[in-house]
């Protein structure tokens, strides 16, 4: 009998597998297919202060071993998330959920987090300072240590829930940004968001994505993500959630050896709706194969 239980910022997860924000909606589409309580938890669709349609379409492009999306944070806005989505979610999911939050100003982040702080089912606030698909916000807060720190401080001031800052890989020195967030009071770091990418339609010579560029995700980015999880987890003393191209139980183990205490699964959910469940089920067997009796023993083993 192996132990897949891990702790993330004081909350115990049955397993470290967490569907990533933007690939799992608010859970219902997947709850129709399987019992989503079998997951560690999941991070719900990136939520902003006001409702958003997002970017014009096309906002999806295929790549070798991955995809580009430029959805641009389509969501109903925090008030509707609280009044409509969370009550529905509560009927099918009985664990603390990770609330993913984005904003266009420090005040936006604080306002949205303050509203979500009142929701009992929200276990963690995952604060996205790394969305590559919106202008004048999102990633611009995650590419500068001081800006990331100011968002962290503002959010910490309005909530007692653990605050996890989700970082962008589109920076020259991710470690300095992670450390700035830690110093500003972040309870955890999650990484990586998508890599800024682009495709061109050869027939028209024009970008496939209406917004020209978008976020590249999928198995192709796994080694980049793993490297950054390794670097950041070595440099900070707060928990790190690893993500980026994870599509198997082996990938979960590798991310944890790099220093992650939990692992998010993103694009894999979009091509196989059962991907996260498959990973949860494969985890014990994979652990046995590598002689791992307790996942907690391998966190940061590669350091």
């Amino acid at each position: 009998m192996v132990n897949t239980r891990v702790t993330l910022c004081g909350i115990t997860l049955d397993n470290p597998v967490i569907p990533a924000s933007g690939t799992f909606g608010f859970g219902y589409e997947f709850a129709e297919l399987y019992d989503i309580n079998l997951l560690g938890t999941f991070s719900f669709k990136g939520t902003t202060r006001e409702n958003r349609f997002g970017n014009p379409t096309p906002r999806i492009a295929e790549c070798t071993a991955g995809m580009i999306n430029a959805v641009g944070l389509q969501n109903p806005g925090v008030e509707k998330v609280v009044s409509e989505e969370l009550p529905k979610l509560g009927k099918v999911f009985h664990k603390p959920v990770m609330a993913n939050v984005s904003g266009f100003s420090v005040e936006d982040y604080a306002c949205t987090c303050a509203i979500l702080d009142r929701e009992e089912q929200v276990g963690w606030l995952e604060v996205n300072v790394s969305c590559p698909n919106v202008h004048g916000g999102g990633m611009s807060f995650g590419t500068d240590p001081e800006a990331a720190a100011s968002v962290t401080r503002a959010v910490k001031a309005v909530t007692k829930k653990p605050v996890i800052i989700k970082l962008s890989p589109n920076v020259t020195d991710i470690v300095s940004i992670a450390k700035a967030c830690e110093e500003a009071g972040a309870d955890g770091i999650s990484l990586i968001n998508t890599l800024l990418g682009m495709r061109i339609d050869l027939k028209t010579g024009r970008p496939i994505i209406a917004n020209t560029m978008g976020g590249f995700s999928g198995p192709a980015i796994f080694p980049v993500a793993l490297r950054m999880v390794y670097q950041v987890s070595k440099a900070v003393n707060i928990p790190v959630v690893g993500m980026g191209g994870v599509s198997s139980a082996e990938d979960v183990v590798e991310m944890m050896m790099a220093g992650a205490c939990a692992v998010e699964v993103g694009a894999a959910n979009l091509i196989d709706p059962y991907a996260s469940l498959r990973i949860v089920k494969a985890l014990p067997e994979t652990m046995e194969k590598y002689g791992i009796s307790d996942l907690n023993d391998i966190i940061g083993k590669a350091h």
Partner: protein, 241 residues
Amino acid sequence: MKQTVLTVTENIPLTASVYRMRLEGAIGENRPGQFVEIALPGRFLRRPISVCGARGGELTLIYKVVGHGTEQMSALEEGARLDVLTGLGSGYRIERAGNAPLLVGGGVGVPPLYGLAKELINKGKTVSVVLGFNTADEIFYEDEFRALGCAVTVTTADGSYGVSGFVTDALPENASYFYACGPLPMLKALCKKTDIPGEVSLEERMGCGFGACMGCSVMTASGAKRVCREGPVFKKEELIW
């Protein structure tokens, strides 16, 4: 939605670039206007393809080769096994047809209307069909619609067959309701030209095909909707052109 593994039993060209694929297995429930998502070896995203027909354990798809993925599909041989998500999207609302529904298809938008025509005929409706193509070489399924008992008109943009012009040049009078699928300019022109109520099937680049990624959203009169989930079929009055 159902995830299933199906076996290719037929994959033949109908025109130079349009193929018909038949698949066998546990296909689940597939209503007219719904679509499937096919996983192809070496391609990250699945390919969304509209359902032409579903009966017992057999699924019929008609698709056009437009890129690497559909090119790969066209090379599949009988016996090939494919991972498929079936029963996706909303489908046409058959109960709104009235007595004399009109089906309007353009190019590779024709296939989902075939399964719809079959159901409407089975319900005793008088079905008119207008099929638009660019040129005579691209025409497919005219005879199949006729064999069902539909009144069929074919238009070609270059006048090489049937009525010269677009589908909007050949709309029958006195139809009770319309169902359409085809290129966006055709759908827009159709909705503008006809006063009768109806619904259209939209196409958009999709990520997942089952409502998770929000990649294919469209703004409607009642807010943002996902083409893959609330769509692909939308009522005429919902669309903001």
